[in-house]
Subunit: 109 residues, 2 copies
């Protein structure tokens, strides 16, 4: 069990994916540039390549990201956030996509 | 900024809404019964009635809930979780609905 204050610490934000690149010599890693209606887009590394045989399908999608984690370096690539999505042990995966009229930068609560 | 451990404390889970009732003498409050693939459904109170003029539209939807908050009593009704959704200051609102093939009980990560 957690308190409401514990919950409030975590910032989950709508981001719009602007571009996607596979990270060479990895099976799973994609490098996303994501717009959060901030001064500039953020680079975010995510391990979802196996769910997107054509990774360009992700471009233009709005989905949810954790946006106040400490930056991490993954295989030499800085990641300034983390995709927030659902997956099952049997291989099903889903982004969490809000309605299209919700602007990027909107925080979940 | 938070640590990955701070983030991991918060449990956000796919729930399927089984039934919805307006809470009398309130404008905004709905009482939801939500299936998380647990032994029995949970009662969750949510302040989203104004977004659903026909609140029965919510029945059958799968969406996201924070499921490890301490229970709260809201206007006399126990709430064992909290809807996790997005809304803007201009009145737009969206549930976060995973693809239909993601079963209730699945945790976001």
């Amino acid at each position: 069990m957690i308190t409401f204050e514990d919950f409030k610490k975590v910032e989950v934000t709508v981001g719009k994916i602007l571009s996607v690149e596979k990270i060479p010599d990895t099976d799973k890693l994609l490098k996303l540039m994501v717009d959060f209606a901030e001064e500039k887009p953020r680079q975010i590394v995510s391990g979802i390549a196996l769910y997107y045989p054509n990774e360009q399908d992700l471009v233009g999608k709005k989905c949810m990201f954790v946006t106040n984690l400490e930056p991490r370096v993954i295989r030499g690539h800085e990641s300034n956030g983390m995709l927030f999505a659902v997956s099952t042990e049997t291989g099903a995966f889903s982004l969490l996509e809000p309605h299209p009229d919700i602007p990027q930068g909107t925080k979940a609560k």
